[in-house]
Each structure stands twice: as structure tokens, then as C-alpha cells.
């Protein structure tokens, strides 16, 4: 079956890790993960600047590994990311910011991508809160 996952919580919330484990489980079962969509504080998951304490799970790194390993489509809502200071190189240049924190394969795009995923996947599963 085809799944889409939406993440609304930051990496320090338990639901962010739960989304990762759910994604791993559905892939292990042979299902398809059509899209990961990051919205609200979930956009912080894409930050390459997070430095997790050595003895704690590094969720941005774990997401990146999962995305690379399975060549997943990982979309960060551009409006949500801009207002939370998570920019890619293109947006950093557009808004004259000195640096950026989001790199490929993460992609910045609009809410249409969430709707497209909701329409085409068999199930959309949202993760947010604690």
C-alpha cells in the first residue's frame, strides 16, 4: 500500500521519533512511502545545524539517513520553514541571509504537496504533539 507521513512536531518531541519508527516499519513491511511532509515545528527536522548530545538520538541525522537510504521524497513546507528560520541555499540568497541549514535531498515546497500526497496515498498519517 502507499503511505504519506506528515510531521508537525520538532525533533525534541516524542512524536517526531514515532514518525521515524513508523516510516521504518512500513518500509520494512514492503509498503511504499510516497512522501514525507514537514510542517509547523516539524520543519526543524530538516536542519543540518542540529548538534544532538552524544548519548541522545540524533533525529535530523536519522531522518536524513532514512531519506537517503530509501530515496524518499522529503518535502519541507516553505512558508513554515521561512518563518522558523530554516532556509536552503536558494532562499538564503533570496532573502539575503548569510547562511542556510537545509540541503538536498530535503526539498522546500508548498502545501499543495501535502494535498497531492493525501490524495494519492492510501493513508496519510500525521504525527504531532508529545
Amino acid at each position: 500500500m502507499k503511505f504519506a507521513i506528515a510531521v508537525f512536531s520538532s525533533p525534541d518531541q516524542p512524536s517526531n521519533r514515532r514518525a521515524l519508527r513508523f516510516a521504518e516499519a512500513l518500509l520494512a513491511a514492503g509498503h511504499t512511502l510516497e512522501r514525507l511532509f514537514f510542517y509547523q515545528a516539524g520543519v526543524h527536522s530538516a536542519s543540518a545545524h542540529v548538534v544532538s548530545p552524544q548519548d541522545e538520538l540524533d533525529l535530523p541525522k536519522a531522518w536524513l539517513q532514512l531519506i537517503q537510504q530509501h530515496q524518499l521524497d522529503a518535502v519541507v513546507c516553505i512558508a513554515a520553514a521561512l518563518k522558523r528560520g530554516q532556509l536552503n541555499a536558494e532562499e538564503a540568497q533570496r532573502y539575503a541571509r548569510s547562511g542556510h541549514s537545509i540541503d538536498a535531498p530535503w526539498e522546500l515546497s508548498g502545501l499543495g504537496q501535502l494535498h497531492e500526497a493525501a490524495q494519492s496515498a492510501d493513508r496519510l498519517i500525521c504525527f504531532a504533539g508529545p
Binding site: 506528515a6 508537525f8 510542517y39 509547523q40 512558508a79 513554515a80 518563518k83 508548498g110 502545501l111 499543495g112 501535502l114 494535498h115 493525501a118 490524495q119 496519510l124 500525521c126 504531532a128
Partner: protein, 119 residues
Amino acid sequence: MMSKAILLVSRHAPTDGSSARELLDIALAGGAFDLPISLLLLDDGVLQLAPHDFSLLQQKNLSANLQALALFGVEQIYAAERSLCERGLNTLNSTLPVQRLDDAAVSQLYRQHDVVITL
């Protein structure tokens, strides 16, 4: 293929951070794609129907976004009667055309949609 019907459930007050606004943004985007979108105001979400002066909080006018829904083809707007009553808003006169639903009708609304997103 027919589009899936989406129920968006908004549970936050318009003054409680960006959740109410970010849910309306999902509704407006869906409307722009001509998707069948319904909006349910539940719990503190019903406060979005009550008059506010957002400028005092240097906040954008969220009512304007609610009014814009119709322009984007989002015309199914519901509010939970119980949530309104709990908050002393049962006599509220909303300028927005909103259908008030009792508990059973709220449950029914979940049954009638193919996708739910709650914020």
C-alpha cells in the same frame, strides 16, 4: 478518479500561536486545487468565530482568512455546538455561514470524509 473528501479539524484559539492560521493555510491550498474540503471548528477552535481585535496583539486578522475560504471554494464550515456552549458562545452571531453540529452530527462528519487532518 474522484478526489478524496478532506476534513480539516481546527482545535486551537486564533490567539494560540500559529496553529489556527496554519490549518487555514491547508484549507486555502486545498481550495485552490479544487479539492472537496470541509472545516470543523472544535474545542477552542470555535473561538475563531468570535469577534477579536487582532491588531492589539500585532497579529494578522485571522477572520479575513476565514472569510476568504468561500472565495477558494471552501464552503462547508462547521462548528461543534458543545464547544460553543462550554465557552459561553452559544448566542454568538457569526458573520460567517457556519453550520452548528451536535455531538452525533460531529461524529457523523468524521464518517463522511476520506481523510482527516487535525491541528
